[in-house]
């Protein structure tokens, strides 16, 4: 819960910037910051005020090959995705079921989504073999909101992880979906765009250990411009 009281809010923002919040609380702060200007300002205050403390850590020479590794990682981020599951996703995207889902998604978007500034996108995610929606995502420049619209649960001790898959690029994790089926993101690792695929895979509860989907993809949908 994000407090309203200014002092509580300052303390929470400070704890967030220090990095002492537990992961759930930190995620809650990150989700709330999109819509909470006071929280955003408090975080900016602490980040700006505390960062000089990093001078207490002695500078050190990074390993010689590190810049080359970073360049390699940048190249990898833009490289075409390997032909795997994602081909199936891409093919499926254009099927009739997808068209039905998009229509349903627009209706749901109107019914569920709070008004957001800037261009809006909507995606309906469902199992590749089914037409009924499991999750609905709405988003735009300021973030993404994903909500469960059915009672889908990951098996046993596993979790659902959400992925954004820009055309011709590798999946990017948007995080593990909390048990309530709702995830709200302020900062996205990739800008949303029309036609971008959102997918949900089954992963360890703490998220994929590799940064790429390791389990089966259970729900997919493509972002469509909502207005």
């Amino acid at each position: 819960m994000i407090p309203d009281h200014p002092e509580e809010l300052q303390a929470l923002a400070g704890e967030y910037v220090l990095g002492v919040l537990d992961p759930e609380a930190a995620r809650e702060v990150e989700a709330a910051v999109v819509q909470n200007a006071a929280l955003a300002a408090a975080i900016a205050f602490w980040q700006e005020q505390l960062h000089p403390l990093s001078r207490l850590a002695a500078p050190a020479e990074p390993p010689a090959g590190l810049w080359r590794r970073i360049e390699g990682a940048l190249a990898g981020a833009a490289a075409p995705a390997p032909p795997r599951l994602w081909d199936r996703v891409a093919t499926w995207r254009w099927s009739t079921a997808a068209a039905v889902a998009v229509a349903a998604g627009l209706a749901l978007y109107i019914a569920l989504a709070p008004p957001a500034p800037g261009p809006g996108y909507v995606a309906v995610l469902h199992a590749p073999q089914r037409a009924d929606a499991a999750f609905v995502a709405t988003g735009g420049e300021r973030g993404l909101l994903l909500r469960a619209v059915a009672q889908e649960r990951p098996p046993g001790d596993r979790g659902f992880e959400l992925w954004a898959i820009p055309a011709g690029a590798k999946p990017r994790s948007l995080g593990v979906i909390p048990p309530d089926g709702r995830i709200e993101l302020g900062h996205l690792p990739v800008p949303l765009s029309e036609g971008m695929t959102l997918a949900i895979s089954i992963e360890p509860r703490t998220g994929s250990p590799t940064g790429q989907p390791t389990g089966p993809v259970v729900f997919v949908g493509a972002l469509m411009a909502a207005r």
Partner: protein
């Protein structure tokens, strides 16, 4: 490509160029900031290979999220520090710190007297230095262990040692005192 990049030395200008897609600007930013930022990551992650991973993740994030930097909200140095600290914290928390603290060869979080001396020596920001010195010693120690060494509440409690509840309250009260001192 962009021959003027080498002449740029402000991280703000370089991040603006990165946002426009300049790899040369990212490389220049790395040249200017990597020693400082690697030091930040190494202090938190302890192991060179983990610190290198954190710095790599951070620079990839800078490349992809340069658009999210806003000079109105704060300095580029603060933004970069925040990214590196969070990537380093992600890595150590994912591994579990107990893996790290077993190794006697690893660096040790600084002790309070050393840190207090370092504050005087290394902090050029008068207000921050003054306000840190005005803090209760326990509150200051907790805040420094969290920010500089990346320790969680529980890790601070183990290190001091002190009850977890006391540590939480020292961090919190320290932050609130700092806040009212920095922005009365």
């Amino acid at each position: 490509m962009e021959p003027n990049i080498a002449a740029l030395s402000s991280p703000e200008e370089l991040i603006a160029a990165v946002r426009r897609g300049s790899r040369a600007a990212l490389k220049r930013l790395y040249e200017l900031e990597s020693r400082r930022l690697y030091g930040v990551a190494l202090r938190i992650a302890r192991r060179p290979e983990l610190a290198a991973d954190a710095l790599q993740d951070a620079f990839v994030q800078v490349w992809q999220n340069a658009a999210s930097f806003s000079a109105e909200r704060g300095s580029a140095a603060g933004w970069l520090t925040g990214i590196v600290r969070f990537r380093a914290l992600d890595i150590v928390r994912k591994l579990g710190r107990e893996v790290l603290s077993d190794d006697p060869a690893l660096g040790e979080a600084a002790h309070e007297p050393d840190m207090a001396a370092e504050i005087d020596l290394k902090l050029t920001q008068d207000a921050l230095r003054r306000c840190l010195r005005a803090l209760d010693v326990k509150q200051r120690h907790c805040i420094l262990l969290a920010f500089v060494d990346g320790l969680s509440h529980a890790e601070i409690a183990t290190r001091l040692p002190a009850p977890l509840g006391s540590v939480k309250s020292w961090v919190r009260r320290g932050l609130l005192s700092l806040r009212s001192c920095l922005e009365p």
